[in-house]
């Protein structure tokens, strides 16, 4: 019996591989297992390898595991690609007849069993149901019963016409029986300890962020389709009409952010969601929003760049652009949620911060956070508090018909804003430098005061979790990361601790304004510091160095991975161990 294992289904895109994974993940969630699900896919619709990986555990899991225990392979290509990742004693179920599949050389201690899943589906009259046969096979391997899966099929196929529910249940059962007869009891070793059947929730970061935005009062989304952010628009378009809201599928990302800024200026909580190429197109309007002090929220689900890069692959290489992008000295807030669950809370915070500081707020997701699927124990909706910031009250307005001082110099730098429709609030909002009423001016004194007003707005930024820290007060090793690498770093810390090395893990959640004091305090308490991130130019490390004390700057070492895949814990642990052992201490840069 196992309390944790990794199951993978692989095949060609467009064959329903995702559906197989989705159904199994959903069933496992209902049985009370903790799930981390991750899709590997290509930038095409039909054809090309795809796989869906589910880590199943009895405790919360935040990332992928290094080894695969069960692989359902619908083609030889899946075996060729994934056999090397199999755990000793792992099992590959191949779709086909005996003797057809081949293990690549060096596959090690792996058992290969053929189950003719497609043939069974054909017998049932619908070849696409091979996926459901595969789910049945998986149920047998994991020690589940078809009845454990059936409620998911009821929910998924009910109302889709015909006898879809019954047909899928039959395919499920046939797969289950075929696996039982092919394997007998010999696969019992892969059976899961029973789940606790507690009610938990399975969601992607894109869904969590969209949900957070909706709960925060977002009522307008304007976006242009892009991998891996489109799911945010898809979720919102199902929900917003029930709240009177609207999704605009814009003609491009410039239009998307412009529409959002227009709506934000007029008082509606609005956002756009995009990825690197789209975010690049938004840069000018991002600066404009900062200059006219219009609240807006941009979710950037990073993918591998530069340029079109690898659209379906994970990376964290937009940090510089999010923190520093757009011309001029631009105030902005960048929040990077640390988990899929945190995508919800970060989205809520983003709208409050945008209103409170009248500024663009970027929520930095990455592909693994956006599309990864994770068990969420619960969401604390009492934490959803809506703060619209300083919207002008009647007393603030200018009733004598003169210009309203929309950009009034205030101590905090934030000025009460009037919304179109408010009498006494007329003003000009312009991206040109302007005076307190919004009128255009290049007066030198005004310029300096206005710049300072905009840039000092965040001086009092608080009640934002800027860094999530786990570990001892004065760790020997400090691991620093951001975004989806939380899981790998967390497990790396556990392993280093298990080796007797006192280890801390700091996950930076607020990238701008940068929490320099907090990060410096952590740096000063650690002996060795490693910044691990999914990019080549060590962008987070560079940001830390920009703010770190001189001595600490030199102590930073970097661990980089930019091959499009997530960190595995060992990829953190190994370079750390190598580098902190006496031989390795000679200022060796890792990665």
């Amino acid at each position: 019996m196992r309390n944790e294992l990794t199951w993978v289904v692989g095949g060609q895109q467009g064959e329903g591989i995702d559906t197989t994974g989705e159904i199994l993940a959903s069933a496992l969630n209902r049985l009370g297992y903790f799930i981390y699900g991750y899709r590997t896919f290509g930038s095409r619709i039909k054809g090309g390898h795809t796989n869906y990986r589910i880590r199943i555990a009895q405790r919360p899991v935040y990332g992928i595991a290094p080894r695969i225990d069960v692989l359902i392979a619908f083609d030889q290509d899946s075996i060729n690609r994934l056999a090397g990742e199999m755990a000793p004693g792992g099992l590959i179920i191949f779709n086909g007849k005996a003797g057809r599949a081949k293990l690549p050389p060096g596959a090690g201690d792996v058992r290969l069993v053929e189950v003719p899943m497609l043939d069974i589906a054909r017998e049932l009259g619908n070849p696409i149901m091979k996926n459901m046969v595969g789910v049945g096979v998986s149920a047998a391997l994991l020690g589940l019963r078809p009845e454990d899966i059936e409620p998911v099929l009821d929910d998924r196929f009910r109302g889709k016409g015909g006898n879809l529910v019954a047909a899928n249940k039959e395919a499920l059962r046939r797969g289950y029986e075929a696996a039982r007869s092919a394997l007998g009891d010999t696969a019992d070793v892969l059976h899961l300890e029973p789940g606790d059947r507690r009610r938990r929730y399975l969601m992607t970061g894109d869904e969590a962020a969209a949900f957070g935005a909706l709960a925060a009062g977002c009522r307008l989304v304007a976006a242009y389709p892009i991998t891996p952010a489109s799911e945010i628009m898809h979720w919102m378009v199902k929900k917003l009409p029930q709240y009177g809201g609207v999704v605009v599928q814009a003609e491009d990302e410039i239009a998307a952010i412009s529409t959002v800024v227009g709506a934000g200026y007029a008082g509606v909580r609005a956002m756009t969601a995009t990825s690197g190429p789209g975010f690049s197109l938004m840069q000018e309007v991002l600066g404009y929003a900062g200059m006219i002090e219009a609240p807006c929220v941009i979710i950037n689900v990073q993918r591998a760049g530069p340029s079109t890069g690898m659209p379906t692959k994970h990376e964290q290489s937009d940090l510089f652009e999010m923190v520093m992008g757009s011309h001029g000295d631009l105030p902005r807030i960048v929040l990077a949620p640390v988990s899929i669950e945190d995508c919800f809370y970060a989205a809520v915070e983003a709208f409050n911060l945008a209103d409170r500081y009248q500024t663009p707020v970027i929520v930095a997701l990455d592909l693994a956070l956006g599309l990864g699927k994770q068990t969420v124990e619960d969401i604390d909706f009492s934490r959803v508090k809506i703060d619209r910031g300083q919207i002008a009250l009647p007393d603030d307005l200018n009733w004598d018909g003169g210009d309203f001082k929309r950009y009034r110099f205030t101590e905090s730098g934030v000025s009460p804003r009037s919304l179109p429709g408010m009498p006494g609030g007329l003003h000009l909002a312009t991206g040109l430098e302007h005076d307190e009423t919004g009128h255009i001016t290049e007066d030198r004194t005004n310029r300096v005061r206005m710049m300072q007003k905009r840039l000092r707005k965040f001086a009092d930024i608080k009640d934002v979790e800027a860094v999530r820290y786990e570990g001892p007060e004065n760790p020997h090793v400090l691991l620093i990361g951001w975004g989806a690498s939380y899981g790998a770093l967390r497990e790396a810390r556990e392993r280093l601790e298990a080796e007797g090395i006192s280890t801390g893990h700091a996950h930076v959640r607020l990238l701008a304004p940068f929490p320099a004091d907090e990060v410096n305090r952590l740096l000063s308490r650690a002996t060795h510091v490693f910044v691990a991130e999914n990019n080549a130019l060590s962008q987070l490390a560079a940001l830390i160095r920009q703010h770190a004390d001189a001595a600490d700057k030199r102590r930073l070492r970097t661990i980089n991975k930019y091959d499009g895949t997530l960190f595995l814990p060992a990829e953190i642990v190994e370079p750390v161990l190598e580098s902190i052992t006496p031989v390795g201490v000679t200022a060796k840069e890792v990665g």
Binding site: P241, A263, R269, D378, P420, L432
Partner: protein
Amino acid sequence: MATVTRTAKDYRTSAAAWWCPGCGDFGVLRALQEAAAKLNLAPENVVLVAGIGCSGKIGDYFRSYSIHTVHGRTMPVATGIKLANRNLTVIAAGGDGDGYGIGLNHFIHAVRRNIDITYIVMDNHIYGLTKGQFSPTSQQGFKTTSSPAGTADRPVKPLQLALSAGVTYLAQAFSAYPDHMAEIIAEAIQHKGFSLVNCISPCVTYNKVNTYDFYKEHLVNLDEDPDYDPRNYDLAVETVRKYDELVIGRIYVNDTQPSYQDLLPGYSKEPLVNAKLDYEPEHWQQILQEFA
């Protein structure tokens, strides 16, 4: 409550216009102020969305809520404002470079969506503020600072583009006739759906070809033609082609198309800015169950 009657003066700001003496944009500003007065619009319920360029300065001179966008993006900004508060009168204004050059993409999409905004293009066939380069509407062969040997580019035909994109209100007016322009702008504002008023607004400094005299000589006023029917799409297409777009007056009017706001499923009938945002945790708990 006493009825307020407004005049053009009510739409003037304290800022002094810095357009060159004789600039066509003065006529457009005056016409817009007259149109607003004619409709007795409360300035706080009007948002003027201005582009970048000489013409974009109009936002500083017209008294209303005024938002001066980045170059070329008046259409999506105006769309966001209108969707945020459908009770507002949203008027976009900008030049031919702003609307038919850098912003052409957005222009076509705003037209085809039929969002209920009015777009005033101050078309002078030249880039003025950057000192006299040819614009997307400049005629082929036009000699400018960026085309000393004459431009190779053929001009954009905004009226034909708008017609092909499904515009529901299309008119052209001339700065030298601001009363006529005011009448048209007022009508365009009242139109439910997208309205384009292309305003011929000569640049007296950089454009020595498309001058007031040139237009006075060539423009045909369709409003004075008893046989012209602006509800006839085919006639509109034929007419703008026949006169190479040198027409003024109502070119095409279609009141039968629903506007974008009316086609959006679930979109609030009340201004979205007033939508309820706060829901009890129990409400969100129900949505959370969809993930179980």
